[in-house]
């Protein structure tokens, strides 16, 4: 201890300089990757918006497609059809998916939970066209197409998304809240309904939004279940209805360049719908959180 104190070198030597260089390089690569991912989204939005913007006007939202040989017209029939199809699909998949998640998260033995979660993941991985064919064989052959049949197909796509995301959110509910509610002498179901579900409401909403966004853009399940061209506005799920994804598909196949612009505009509408839905869900979530912490 009496010897002169030896300090470590406090300025970088060659080794440290090289390590710092590697550090900077990795940071740059990571940042670039993140920027690239964002710019892909930006490019898509830009490409769709710039090509579709010209076709967007009030008529586009309020008018049905013009009859052959005439110009103008809109996609009001497709917008109405998409709303009906997605709404019915959500009405099926949301309660169903939440119930599945409650069973897996709150009631089932652990081994069953693991097995069922795996099955849900497999269901989530099923190509959507397979689900479309399945519903075609089950409901459409011999009976004809209808919007609700497309909704059933879409609800099969939404179910694992809703169930798995709800399951994740339920797992985040603190054990203390579960015990606290059960210690009051209420049944398990009332504890789930009164305390656990409201606590995880925001997360369930977010998962449901993602599922709705996914379903709104699905095309393949609609091809066999609800693809008859309909040019009137209808809200009846028993009829076959036009939908935005199929309209985009049909318009792009048309030889008329004006139809191409309309296809881009329809794509823009679809994208805006998903975006607005996400923003609404996030706002609702933030509001419910604020309410709770006040």
């Amino acid at each position: 201890m009496s010897a002169a104190p030896t300090t470590g070198l406090l300025t970088p030597d060659a080794r440290l300089r090289r390590r710092k260089l590697v550090n900077h390089a990795m940071q740059a690569v990571g940042t670039l990757a993140a920027l690239a991912a964002i710019s892909v989204l930006g490019l898509v939005v830009y490409a769709v918006a710039s090509r579709g913007y010209s076709a967007l006007d009030r008529n586009f939202f309020t008018k049905v497609p013009a009859t052959f040989g005439q110009s103008g017209g809109g996609i009001a029939n497709s917008i109405a059809g998409s709303i009906v199809i997605v709404l019915v699909a959500t009405a099926i998949a949301l309660p169903f998916g939440v119930l599945v998640a409650i069973y897996l998260g709150e009631l089932a033995p652990r081994r069953v939970t693991l097995a069922f979660s795996l099955v849900l993941d497999v269901l989530n991985g099923l190509p959507s066209i397979v689900i479309g064919i399945f519903i075609f064989a089950l409901l459409v052959i011999g009976h004809g197409q209808a919007a609700w049949k497309a909704s059933v197909a879409l609800s099969i796509i939404m179910l694992p998304l809703v169930a798995r995301s709800t399951q994740e959110v339920l797992a985040l509910v603190p054990k203390e809240l579960r015990e606290g509610s059960l210690a009051l002498g209420v049944s398990r179901w009332r504890a789930v309904l009164g305390v656990i579900l409201p606590t995880s409401f925001g997360g369930i909403l977010t998962g449901a939004t993602l599922a709705v966004a996914r379903a709104a853009g699905e095309t393949a399940p609609l091809l066999f279940t609800c693809s008859v061209t309909v040019t009137t506005i209808s809200w009846d799920p028993h009829q076959a209805l036009q939908s935005i994804p199929l309209t985009i598909f049909e318009l792009l196949e048309s030889p008329d360049p004006a139809d191409h612009a309309r296809a881009w505009a329809a794509a823009l509408v679809l994208m805006a719908f998903v975006l607005i839905l996400s923003i609404l869900a996030k706002t609702a979530l933030a509001r419910s959180r604020r309410k709770l912490s006040r």
Partner: protein, 283 residues
């Protein structure tokens, strides 16, 4: 300097027994626990515990960490049913009925035997809804009157009466814990189990919870787990000292060492292990 043989003087713990609250040795027995053994998988958390808990008396369970006192108290309203792998042997007679007997529904058990936990766990609802929820679910009448009475019993009414619709999460930790006590009282249980109710609170909040326990024993039978010996001495009429029994093969299990009036446990314990613990030589 003391020689190792000297018996340490008993720690100067104030035993807050009021003269009007003599430890009632011959009052009604509410819980009669007989040969209770609890296993989690292969580990024995509580081994062969027998004791009687009396009506309108505060009974404290003290002991070092891992001695099974929490496991024991959770057997008194079947909260252990929620832990996978927990197995219970022996009898817990509650007013003569075995809580683990055939046909006994844990949901009904918990309705009459309430519980408050270590960490305040208010529901993410308003103050009013926290207290009103269980009475509503159970279909009890006069929910508003019940809420007010429960909040008054929990000494919280004056602090929250103007903001019943505000979120319970905005309350301080001590207020949250009193809210949890009010929530447990709102269904008018017969017994209240407190599992380290003040261990997450500061001294002032702790003191208000302790005052509350003194008040509550007039109406309820109270069992409290605490690792704070002063707290047991301050609030409890009867005290049970749990400890760890370590076998040669290293297996550990919680056992009941001594159960007596609190004053006796802290001033003239009959078991040297109790004396070692309450004087701070162990645990």
């Amino acid at each position: 300097m003391q020689t190792p043989d000297t018996i340490l003087p008993v720690a100067p713990i104030e035993v807050a027994q009021r003269s009007d609250a003599r430890p009632p040795m011959h009052r009604d027995v509410v819980f009669d626990v007989r040969g209770l053994t609890v296993r989690y998988g292969t580990t024995v958390a509580v081994k062969d515990v027998s004791l009687e808990i009396h009506r309108n008396v505060v009974t404290a369970l003290i002991g070092p960490s891992g001695c099974g006192k929490s496991t024991f108290i959770r057997c008194l309203n079947r909260m252990n049913d929620l832990i996978p792998g927990a197995r219970v042997e022996g009898e817990v007679l509650y007013q003569g009925q075995n809580l683990y007997g055939p046909g006994v529904d844990p949901v009904a058990v918990r309705r009459w035997i309430g519980m408050v936990f270590q960490k305040p766990n208010p529901f993410p609802k308003s103050i009013y809804d926290n207290v009103a929820w269980a009475p509503k679910v159970l279909g009890l009448k006069d929910v508003d009157a019940r809420v007010e009475r429960a909040l008054q019993q929990a000494a919280l009414w004056d602090e929250v009466k103007g903001r019943l619709k505000r979120s319970a999460l905005a309350l301080s930790g001590g207020q949250q814990q009193r809210l949890c006590i009010a929530r447990a009282l709102a269904v008018e249980p017969e017994a209240v189990l407190l599992d380290e109710p003040a261990s997450a609170l500061d001294p002032i909040a702790t003191s208000s919870i302790e005052d509350l326990i003194h008040e509550l024993k007039r109406d309820y039978t109270i069992v409290i787990v605490t690792h704070n010996m002063q707290q047991a001495a301050r609030v409890a009429d009867m005290t049970a000292f749990f400890s760890l029994d370590v076998k040669e093969d290293g297996s550990r299990s919680g056992i009941l060492v001594e159960y007596d009036e609190t004053e006796k446990i802290f001033t003239q314990p009959s078991d040297p292990r109790t004396e070692g613990y309450v004087t701070g030589r162990f645990g």
